[in-house]
Assembly symmetry: D2
Homo-oligomer: 308 residues x 4
């Protein structure tokens, strides 16, 4: 069992939850998908996030997905999303998944929070609930949560709670926030890991601003793996070349709400999962959208071919 910490780097893929066409949990595909992610170079996984259709799973199913994923990960770190309206549910699921060997839990703020004080107080309650020994990822995703957390407020939270070891960064715009956080660390604040989301659409700039890697669900994890590696090697032009080749599809996948459908479609097409089925309420791809995605994939392959 490995835990994430404030120095964690690399690519954590946000995993989807595979279902069969009639809506059952597809345990076989969980395994296949996990293999797929690691074969493409992922350093770890994040499950039961917003993209994981977590609210559509019963508690028992959430535990099942975690068990299957952890088993197949063979010691690689798996972060589990435990966001919920109430602290009781957060505490319950955290206890269960940490006991099973999760590497940490991820918590996004509930959308009712407004003032800095409310946000700071919320994460104090979370840490008290899950216990200070559990590594926590703070998910900062205002587009989805409606909660805006300034770099200064993040700093107050990080100072107060050493167990919050990682920021899942997906503010938009958010580049300056990375710069601000790293500058505060340069002046003495303790370090946190920063992995970036937002479908990866700013990954090259984010890495150069000081991010430690990516945590997002783009269906071509090799893009993140290559971009992060090239950036770490200082090969920014090459990283941008790879990035640009994938950008048209990333952009398409980033569409709120639709993104999950695109990812599941692509993952099924790539053989990583058996079916692109979502549970109700589902937003499947229309026939026109499927054609658009197929076209983007075809062009992407062509362009990647020109890179090598």
């Amino acid at each position: 069992m490995s835990l994430i910490n404030s120095s964690t780097k690399g690519v954590f893929v946000i995993a989807c939850t595979p279902f069969t066409d009639n809506g059952g949990l597809d345990g076989e595909s969980v395994g296949r998908m996990v293999d797929f992610y690691y074969e493409k170079g992922a350093d770890g996984l994040t499950i039961l996030g917003m993209m994981g259709e977590a609210p559509k799973l019963t508690q028992a199913e959430s535990i099942d997905v975690t068990r299957l994923t952890l088993k197949r990960s063979e010691g690689k770190p798996v972060v589990v999303g435990v966001s919920a309206p109430g602290l009781a549910a957060i505490g319950e699921l955290t206890k269960a998944v940490m006991d099973m060997g999760a590497a940490g839990v991820m918590v996004a703020p509930p959308s009712s929070l407004r003032t800095d004080e409310q946000i700071i107080s919320y994460y104090r309650n979370v840490v008290e609930t899950v216990g200070a020994e559990v590594p926590v990822v703070l998910q900062d995703f205002p587009l989805s949560t409606g909660v805006q957390i300034s770099a200064k407020t993040l700093g107050v939270i990080f100072e107060a709670h050493p167990s919050i070891v990682m920021l899942k960064h997906e503010d938009w715009p958010g580049l300056q926030k990375i710069t601000d956080l790293r500058e505060a660390e340069a002046k003495g604040r303790r370090r946190t890991s920063i992995l970036c989301g937002n479908a990866g659409v700013f990954l090259t700039e984010e890495m150069q601003r000081g991010a430690d890697g990516a945590m997002t669900g783009f269906a071509y994890p090799e893009m993140m793996v290559d971009v992060v590696r090239l950036c770490n090697e200082g090969k920014y032009e090459a990283a941008q070349d790879v990035f640009d080749a994938y950008l048209p599809l990333m952009r398409y996948e980033q569409q709120p709400g639709l993104g999950l459908a695109v990812r599941k479609y692509v993952l099924a097409k790539r053989g990583a999962i058996a079916s692109a089925a979502q549970r109700r309420p589902a937003a499947p791809l229309s026939a026109v959208a499927v054609k658009e995605v197929d076209k983007l994939i075809e062009r992407q392959a062509r362009r990647l071919g020109m890179l090598t």
Copy 2:
């Protein structure tokens, strides 16, 4: 076991969830509180609502509270709040509580809904998830959910789903909505029961506009019982006299966020529960607020004395 239906009338008290001072579920107080509500004249209860600190309960505790309440209610109808971000959790809890003898379940819309279509589609999914044989209360509380549902949209939902038998009405302003709904029924739309919330602060007008009763948690349920009874007897002046005597405290109790603390304080003071303790995150009454509430109770008693 009794189920609510579209003709249900009377007073359903929104029950709090009693805790001991160290945060445990206080099962003994659940029983005492249930007795208290029925002694004051309640026709039924609603548990695990927003006022019931439901998000602070584990799934097992939610089941416990339901079992204790149902047992003590001896056949009186108990509605259970099952609102959750995901349909899976709604379905799971609904199945459990209906099997135990609940009279129906209450579902508020998630705050992400915006257009009429999204709202209509959400309740279709809810009915498909819980099953068309389960009576559903639609909670219309825009101040808390952020979701505005027009009378017309409510009508579309009611027409489509006969199992949605009741509206928990707490739009604000909401008087015209009651009038509009009853007028649509007069023109042929099927009837739904309308029980009113909002701490009761418009109960006299609501009854005269066509409501069937109250569903709220004011810590003096006898106010609701008396006002509903007097209105049903056509004694509107007497109803308003009773209402006015309680209004200063109702107004104080209606404060968002603080209301729960006031209710638990008053219920403990009246001996209905052992402790006013809330689970974290708690917002207890300050010493000044306690003095304000005590003053209001004292004046209320004096004024009620003058009525008789």
Copy 3:
């Protein structure tokens, strides 16, 4: 010309803007209404607020209303609402009305603000725009603006800008905020005046928590005048008696959106303005609502009669 300052006390009535039945500005009624407010004991007025249908006025009409009101006020202080999406409009209207003799301007935060930093920065921009010599009222009305400002953030703003001399307090719940602000002043922060809004529904508690008076538009300004005077004399029971007599109507008038219609109806009924007409988009009272209001007024008169 008198300016408001950080010691200003008393009752500033939020004035409506009277229109004729065909939608024109009713200058004659402006004068009559101003007289009415002062006859009832108002210490000052606030015009062009949210209740003043300000967004329905052209710039020229806003200036006209201000001129007419100032002229008739004969030196009594008149605060002018200048909230607008852009600083240019705020600066323009402020310049115009201060040149004409306004006592200060009132600015609510635009609904796009979220973090404490954004709010603090907004009021810095406002003060720079209107000039540090212009007294500013900060309107804190989260129910309407969606912007939540903590007591701490208010303190930062007050410290930074001595020209922000007054808080129009209408947070809900907001009693603790008054206590917090006064405690911070007791520890050395400079004083600001606090006048309370929210239709007056917490005025007795607010006065005892340390407020300086009322700034709201309840159509019976004599309630605010009497309650504020009795509280200042330490006669809290008597103040509460007066308050309770008016509370049923206050409660009705506080309904968001409907409040303006109720106020204009009552003001017209009392002879303060010629017509209850609103400009488009208008939300007039239905016939049922008129009956409800009439009933409340009748009962209110009866109960006031019993007080003396």
Copy 4:
């Protein structure tokens, strides 16, 4: 003078408002920028939009900008943004700019609207206010306004008001909405023009879904001109090649809040305006951001070179 209508096609560039370094309106740059846009192939312009810093202009300045732009446009159509919290301001500015020769006005919904009924009623009020002879562009930009308008509700509005001739389409995701609108037209609903915004990041798909062109402020208008032209010629692969070359910068420019700074920086760099200065509250580019933009421009030039 030319008016827009329901068949209008092509590229309308959203123009910025140029200021001098000390904050004055830079009339000379207005002219230069207008020339620049037409030289790059724009069919028309849209001024005083969200990107035009309209709320930072006094009414007189808004009129000035319109006059200067119209004069220099020599008969090409200029749409003017007139969104405002109140109908009076909308009516006033519309009258002024239509008298001067504007081609139409653009109105976004105020962020307070929620239900379909409220949205439909709002546009009825707008049309009544500006007059049914004035061509109106409905701006559908939920990310910024918070108002979600379904395709069905748009249809109701278009049916009711023939003077609403154009949709500025920037819902996200929004491709299906274009398809839905065009399908409803195929079934008999009257046609409206659809020009797309969102910085152009879905322009190729939008054109193939049935859009008539673009209305956005990307600082390389030649991208929109070329993509729209190539799509109209059925050369979708070539259109996508051009699009892909610009996409990395488009993506960067699309960042909410930052976009204006990027555009002004690029326009100044290209010589279209003298200064990138914004009026307060300004969000200028940091030095790091400037380097990122310069890098993107350099790569963009290289890639465009490879296309020809």
